[in-house]
Symmetry: none
Subunit: 422 residues, 2 copies
């Protein structure tokens, strides 16, 4: 079963509001196996709305429309239904009575304009609105069912529960969509595509979605079917995707942020961490402390933007800065070692780089970032990144690579431990 959603309202065609009602509607549709094929926004024009209703009624099994049922003259959904399907609008006295009682309850007289809300296209069913004056409408046109609900989120939610979901359940039956997600860090989107290509071939490309943001990719598997079968199929898809992506997966259910995963690993390892940041200006510390409870493993950090402070606070050797420049592997490592000593933690992450847009050179272009990790027993790791894009993106990606470096190190330390004790 396929569906379309239309949001009506000229205010949704401006430059600062988006239709978010459709998200709630989509959740209900998917839960009962309806696939959303189209979503659109139309202004308060009778012609435009009528054309859109006719178009969708010819293409999908269900159309859900929100908005334009209010009492004012720019609420023209009723007139558009009449125009599209060639129906008369009939005044329902029962709706008028309901509305009058509603106003009376609040000790108000119903304004004359509200009578418009009692107009119902012939052959349409009207649906009581518990939370407001505008009744909903339901109409059949050929093989398509159309629902019309108010655009006020609170009223819409009430009507989804009281009338849409029961209808979906009766029509959609047992079949629905279920999803599972996983997230990987620090891989290019095209690389992820290559890695999961076998899963596309096995399970079908349309069931796997790849969503990328800087330094992080979410892979989403979805299956339409009956509850037991779809859960089993999803389990197989998820296992296959996990094995294809291997260690790059940092969140097996897609729910956790990278900083939260790092936090869990630090707790598991009973280890603490500190940070020493230059180009990221505190972003790595800020991310680590986004996690509630992070005081259990995060002691503190230094933001040493001025070279003077790299020396004074972190004990970086003046000679290292002079010889290699402050954006260098040597300085990053000395910053990490300095943080361990200064803050007394088991691990320390250090970052120094050129976030841009200025400050780049031929040898060290904008986006060059040295990331160093220092761990127990003086172990160190280093990664040199070259991140493209504007300042904000360079910093975001650098923080991502830093946290992932720590994640991998903690993982292998924990594995060794387990192996060692078994």
């Amino acid at each position: 079963m396929e569906a379309g959603i239309v949001a009506i309202g000229s205010e949704l065609l401006g430059s600062d509001r988006v239709d978010t009602n459709s998200l709630e509607l989509t959740r209900s549709l998917r839960a009962f196996g309806f696939e959303l094929r189209f979503k659109s926004v139309v202004g308060d024009s009778i012609d435009d709305i009528a054309a859109e209703l006719l178009r969708l009624a010819g293409r999908v099994d269900l159309v859900v429309v929100t908005g334009g049922l209010g009492p004012t003259s720019d609420d023209v959904t009723r007139e558009a239904i009449a125009r599209a399907f060639d129906k008369e609008l009939v005044l329902h006295e029962q709706i008028v009575g309901d509305m009058e009682r509603r106003f009376a309850k609040a000790a108000l007289k119903m304004p004359e304009v509200n009578r418009r809300q009692a107009l119902v296209p012939e052959d349409a069913r009207w649906i009581h609105n518990e939370r407001g004056t505008a009744p909903g409408l339901q109409l059949e046109h050929g093989d398509c069912t159309l629902f019309f609900f108010p655009g006020v989120p609170h009223e819409l939610e009430g009507m989804i529960a009281s009338s849409l979901r029961p209808w979906l359940e009766a029509r959609g039956g047992n079949t629905g969509v279920e999803e599972r997600r996983l997230k990987v860090a620090c891989l290019a989107e095209s690389r992820v595509e290559e890695m999961i290509a076998p899963a596309y071939a096995e399970f079908g490309r349309e069931r796997i979605t790849v969503l990328a943001k800087p330094g992080e990719i979410e892979i989403r598997a979805s299956v339409v079917g009956r509850p037991v079968e779809r859960t089993e199929e999803l389990r197989r898809m998820h296992a296959r995707l996990s094995s294809l992506l291997g260690q790059a997966v940092f969140s097996a259910d897609g729910s956790q942020s990278l900083e939260a995963v790092v936090g869990d690993l630090l707790v598991a390892a009973s280890a603490t961490v500190s940070t020493a940041e230059s180009c990221t200006g505190g972003l790595v510390a800020e991310r680590l402390t986004r996690v509630s409870g992070s005081s259990a493993y995060f002691a503190g950090g230094a933001v040493t933007y001025a070279d003077r402070l790299k020396r004074e606070i972190l004990g970086v050797a003046a000679a290292s800065i002079e010889q290699h420049g402050s954006v260098s592997e040597v300085v990053a490592l000395e910053m990490a070692v300095g943080a361990i000593e200064r803050f007394g933690t088991d691990y320390a992450l250090a970052l120094t780089g050129v976030a841009g847009p200025d400050g780049g050179s031929e040898e060290k272009p904008v986006g060059t970032v040295h990331i160093a990790l220092c761990g127990p027993g003086g172990t160190t790791a280093h990664y040199k990144g070259r991140f493209p894009g504007p300042r904000e993106r360079v910093r975001q990606m650098a923080s991502q690579w830093a946290l992932d470096l720590l994640r991998k190190s903690l993982r292998s330390a924990l594995c060794e431990c387990e192996t060692g004790t078994s």
Copy 2:
């Protein structure tokens, strides 16, 4: 001139993502007098996209399409154009060369899949993408012009500036919408509404929009008209709003972030700043260093999450923590003084508080934050905030109040200076 916007991507038909690219596009359309009539979302289906393109091409003068230009096989916008308008796809070697150079710059080999991005429908013009591999496309169909841009916001923004806006400027008429904005910090939305009520009465409520986010409110004035008249009317509106809001306005043209304004004031005062953060975990330092060129005034900072580090790094007295607790005015002030001494700056901002969700008490509930500012000559200022909401919001609001405290202090210091020398 009328326009339609289409966002392509099955992920935008799910239950957790809405198309927000259209907002930026709408701003550009409106600025040049184009009226947006339709906005829609279509999944990664060649048939559905092709049908939508044909429908809109027959109804409006301009169609702007985002998404589906990536390298993977679910990026099918190119194929949909070919289907809709009956065009062949032709491989452009110049685009391949551009992409290969782009990958080579990052020391990578271009994956084979990216070659698809060099396919251009015959008769279409391709548009260079400065910020990514996917070129844009421009096509004429009857009286309609269609633009195709990547869905990645950063890439889209670049292409709006480089190719869409010049085209709009050339085609659009004289009448358009013009906007002016201003931003205020650290006021409640209802308070702002009260302050600007006279402007609503004078200029009309529908021409003034108030957009709130935590600790920051944008006020937007917009006028429809011909260039000279609308600019003059906007100037009057803007002057009135500015005078009603007074010192709370931190960005008179709404373009600058609070951290950028603080940066400009620091430059004007030839002053430097450092930070000492506990509950915000580095957010204030991170925000200050988001600004390119911030190394001119930001020296560094400490994130002292553990009380031990508040003592060791910032010199906070153990007795102060014991007597008043680490979330207290006394400790915040000692942290600020410690930062000035440790980092050798003119100003220092310190924050200590309970970000939550745990750690609150009756006396110091979640959301309690002490903010201290230490300035030249040992001057200090203190603000005790009680910020409602979840952890992220508490931290964001705390950083906002801290930066605004510094902004006001710098402003009055600069004013005194000016008065003193005149």
